[in-house]
């Protein structure tokens, strides 16, 4: 009997990994196909981000930085949409900026889609600066004058011909910057723009980066933190507009449970094997 158990665990340890792939694929796919939903609870870090934007007076300017591309789109695009909904709902002005050239069309698609929902007018309620290379140089130059780097918007329209841009020149005219980050630009926003210009910041980051951003939050270098798809789902809940974050939460939950079961199974097999080897 014991021998049979051991060989079972040994066999289980050497299972073809394609079975694991299939299980994970199904666990993620089934909740999407059947439209399963779960209740989302809001964490203090996301609430803090929401409160920062919520406390802004009508007409304040929020700059949203698109620092991601297609690879992290499922995590950060829902954040962008939820934040845009919050801003437009509160009649805040939105300025989009891009530091990842591959994110240029993605950010613009999200902006236009949400602006249409709220009937907002380009150039009056929102605008897109587009992309300029130079990363930190661009960030620093905007500290004195946005026009010194962005001569026009994403379509080449001169900034002064857009009504909302008439009084927006530098960080003094921007209430808060929201960085949606899949790489090192988030650090640059904190270390150069917050440190030098005392600009209020909120970071929305991919889950991979989230654990490393908490020190910024505790140090007060950022006002709020939205981490991964769950963070996006929390923000969606706060703005009362469930979207892709909520669609993904059931799959996310059951995939995590499945991976934890894999870890437990793998460890049981490991300890059974170790006991067998010690017994020999």
């Amino acid at each position: 009997m014991n021998g049979e158990n051991i060989s079972f665990w040994e066999k289980l340890g050497k299972i073809d990994r394609r079975w694991i792939f299939l299980i994970i694929g199904l666990v993620v796919f089934i909740p999407i196909a059947f439209g399963l939903r779960m209740t989302v609870h809001v964490s203090p870090a996301v609430k803090s981000a929401y409160d920062t934007i919520n406390s802004l007076p009508e007409g304040s300017v929020v700059m949203i930085s698109i620092d991601y591309d297609a690879a992290s789109m499922p995590e950060l695009q829902p954040m962008l949409k939820a934040i845009l909904r919050h801003c437009f709902d509160k009649n805040l002005k939105v300025v989009l900026i891009n530091f990842w050239p591959l994110g240029l069309p993605i950010g613009n698609q999200g902006l236009e889609e949400v602006a249409k929902e709220y009937g907002k007018v380009y150039g009056v309620d929102y605008m897109n600066l587009g992309y300029r290379p130079g990363d930190i140089a661009v960030m620093l130059r905007m500290g004195t004058e946005i026009r010194s780097v962005f001569y026009g918007d994403i379509k080449g329209t001169p900034l002064d011909s857009l009504p909302m841009m008439k009084n927006i020149h530098n960080y003094d005219d921007i209430a808060v910057v929201v960085g949606l980050e899949a790489g090192s630009m988030g650090d640059a926003w904190v270390q150069y723009v917050n440190a030098r210009f005392k600009q209020d910041l909120i970071l929305g980051v991919t889950a991979v980066m989230a654990a490393g951003v908490y020190p910024y939050l505790q140090a007060g270098q950022i006002k709020g933190l939205i981490g991964g798809l769950k963070g996006a789902a929390e923000y969606e809940k706060l703005v009362n507009h469930p979207d892709f974050g909520h669609i993904g939460m059931a799959s996310q939950s059951w995939a995590h449970v499945t991976i934890i079961l894999f870890i437990i199974l793998g460890n049981i097999g490991y300890f059974m094997e170790r006991r067998r080897k010690r017994g020999l």
Binding site: V28, E75, R132, I136, V190, A207, A211, G248
Partner: protein
């Protein structure tokens, strides 16, 4: 019609990449090479439009103030291209030296002013605040930072008090790695959710077309 075709292409390419899960195969290799080729062309257009046209040609053509100084990066950029000629490839070191100097200067000021000083400041926390939980939390943060730094920075043998402190440090570090790993799993699953949701909605859209 074009929309349906776009969905077919995008969904087909998604499945082609996913076929790698079964094993390396020509369909995956096709998609992989298409990806690399398309990206190479994309970056060439990117370099032309954003770097050469917007950062060099436009400022010079519009006689913007300071445009004359662009001769400096053009000079160093041209030197970078000497790597195409092995006999004079060493000249490209001058350009590399220029970028290394700027990178080093920027990192130095950014790291000290933007990270080290504010983060050290934020660690100098009161160990008694009048509230038991806050005091405990502050204590945990301070101990976590100090023991981690001790684990990394003391080149003396980790024995005695130092050994015990660094042992506490490594346990803290393991907790940090565990949190990062947990979040990494979350990130990877989210990306898969994105693709499978795309595939499912593509199927639903294509069904509507027929």
């Amino acid at each position: 019609m074009i929309e349906a075709l776009s969905i077919w292409v995008a969904a087909g390419l998604t499945l082609a990449i996913m076929s790698f899960l079964y094993g390396d195969n020509p369909v995956y290799k096709f998609a992989e090479h298409l990806y690399v080729g398309y990206s190479a062309g994309y970056w060439l257009i990117y370099t032309w439009h954003f770097t050469i046209k917007l950062m060099v040609i436009q400022p010079i053509a519009e006689k913007q103030p300071g445009a004359v100084w662009l001769v400096i990066p053009l000079f160093f950029g041209a030197l970078m291209l000497t790597r195409w000629f092995p006999r004079i490839a060493w000249i490209s070191r001058w350009s590399i030296a220029f970028t290394v100097g700027i990178g080093a200067g920027l990192t130095l000021t950014g790291a000290v002013h933007g990270y080290i000083i504010p983060q050290v400041k934020a660690t100098i926390l009161p160990l008694w605040t009048g509230n038991g939980l806050t005091s405990f939390n502050n204590f945990v943060i301070v101990v976590g930072v100090i023991t981690t730094l001790i684990y990394f920075f003391f080149s003396k043998p980790h024995t005695g008090v130092l050994g015990k402190t660094s042992k506490v440090g490594i346990l803290f570090i393991m907790v940090a790695f565990g949190a990062s790993f947990g979040y990494t799993v979350m990130a990877r699953i989210s990306l898969l959710i994105g693709r499978l949701d795309f595939l499912w909605s593509s199927i639903l859209k294509l069904v509507q077309f027929f």
